[in-house]
């Protein structure tokens, strides 16, 4: 399962998650953009679900650990959200891998796939994250979405309700953006790199 190209893909996707996620965290935007690499990893390994599941989860875990060690002491407790996003990416988003790479671009189908996958991923991650935000941190996290939680608390909502509503407000937009960026990067990835990822042997192949 862990051929050298796949290990490289995991590391690259983890680095992508970490770099974009860190910038967004420091800017305190009410979105996250820290799972693009994870979604991309699932797309790169589609349609192999088992490999996609393991590799995408590893890329998410690696970037979460890096962020936790360097920048964001909150993020480790959202590992279950990563698992949920991986599951949706492998079981749903990766089904559209041919649409995302089709040439010429089927604009309508591409947009529909991005929106559906983004919204489903967003709802699932909001539901999984809400109890962590509410019960572990009492609604206090360092990301920009805290402003949205604060807004719902200010208008009289309870803590879990505010965390969930904040997630359901921000996450579908955030995840649709993430699926779009991952799909565009997947579309731009060279075909020979994707072929290397699907080759069963660890030995790198020579270009034809």
């Amino acid at each position: 399962m862990f051929t050298t190209p796949r290990l490289i893909a995991i590391a690259l996707c983890a680095a992508l998650n970490f770099s974009i996620g860190s910038i967004v965290f420091l800017l305190k935007l009410p979105i996250y953009l820290d799972s693009i690499g994870l979604i991309l990893c699932a797309l790169l390994l589609a349609p192999d679900r088992k490999t996609g599941l393991v590799c995408a989860w590893l890329s998410g875990a690696l970037s979460t650990t890096l962020s936790f060690l360097i920048l964001n002491p909150f993020i480790l407790w959202f590992e279950m959200t990563d698992v949920a996003i991986v599951l949706v990416s492998v079981l749903l988003t990766a089904r559209f891998h041919q649409t995302f790479r089709a040439r010429p671009l089927p604009t309508g189908r591409f947009a529909a796939a991005v929106i559906i996958c983004g919204i489903v991923t967003g709802i699932v991650s909001a539901i999984v994250s809400a109890p962590v935000v509410a019960y572990l941190f009492g609604g206090v996290t360092g990301s920009g979405s805290a402003f949205v939680v604060a807004f719902f608390l200010k208008i009289g909502r309870q803590l879990l309700e505010a965390a969930l509503l904040s997630g359901l407000t921000a996450e579908p937009i955030d995840k649709t953006l993430q699926v779009l960026l991952a799909a565009l990067l997947y579309r731009a990835t060279p075909a020979d790199f994707i072929a290397m990822l699907h080759a069963p042997d660890a030995a790198p192949r020579k270009a034809a």
Partner: protein, 241 residues
């Protein structure tokens, strides 16, 4: 301490800090970290504290703005449905920040304890499956590759007039091109390495030999003291509720 012992120590302290729900619990963990700093990290301990403060301070300012400035109530007051006070909100934010400070400090102390080791030596010393070690080393090596990819892509796009060196509206609209270019540059570099450079230099075989050379160090006498102490402290914190 060995790298394995230090990693376990940090993990236990992090679990304790997250589970702590009283100031007394956090004080116990702070005492444990102070002792670890004094015996294991010594004169470099203040650097660990400084780094931890630098990570937590911006978070504290942000949380104070949101929770004291905007919400004006603590989590307990919200749960109880009482009006609440800004003082209670400030105390609550302070407690959360202290917890985060201990988490970050534990990690920084471990980092500084082994700052004389190279990342490769540290990874080699860990008791992990060879595939996990390989993944860690490849990731660390790719960070440098990505830095080069960012430099190259940025220089090329600045030269082409697509992005500017300073913050600008154009960067907001064309920033995506930079992300795409960095990704393509990085993929192209690693494909080249996997096809030509690594097989010719037998890089992966040499790396595996290095990672697999000898058994990782067993837990040292120091580890056998620190780990039970950390575990006992965490159990006391958990018991204190």
């Amino acid at each position: 301490m060995t790298p394995n012992g230090a990693a376990l120590f940090a993990l236990i302290v992090v679990i304790g800090a997250v589970a702590a729900s009283s100031l007394a619990g956090l004080a116990i963990l702070a005492g444990l970290l102070a002792a670890m700093a004094a015996f294991e990290v010594r004169e470099r301990a203040h650097r660990a504290l400084l780094r931890a403060v630098m990570v937590v301070l911006p978070l504290a300012a942000f949380m104070a703005l949101v929770w004291v400035g905007i919400v004006g109530r603590s989590a307990a007051e919200i749960a109880a449905g009482t009006p609440g006070t800004r003082q209670a909100a400030a105390l609550y934010v302070g407690f959360i920040c202290l917890r985060l400070l201990l988490v970050v400090l534990a990690i920084q102390l471990v980092v500084l304890r082994f700052d004389r080791l190279t990342p490769l030596q540290f990874v080699c010393a860990l008791r992990l499956p060879i595939m996990a070690k390989r993944l860690l080393v490849l990731t660390l090596s790719l960070i440098e590759t990505l830095r080069h990819a960012i430099d190259r892509a940025r220089t090329a796009l600045v030269a082409a007039g697509l992005v500017t060196r300073r913050p600008s509206l154009r960067n907001v609209t064309t920033g995506w091109v930079l992300v795409q270019t960095v990704w393509l540059t990085a993929v192209t570099i690693v494909v080249g390495r996997m096809r030509d450079k690594w097989p010719a230099e037998q890089t992966l075989a040499l790396l595996d030999d290095t990672l697999d050379a000898g058994e990782p160090l067993p837990l040292s006498t120091d580890d056998r003291i620190w780990l039970p102490v950390a575990l006992s402290a965490t159990l006391v914190v958990l018991g204190a509720g």
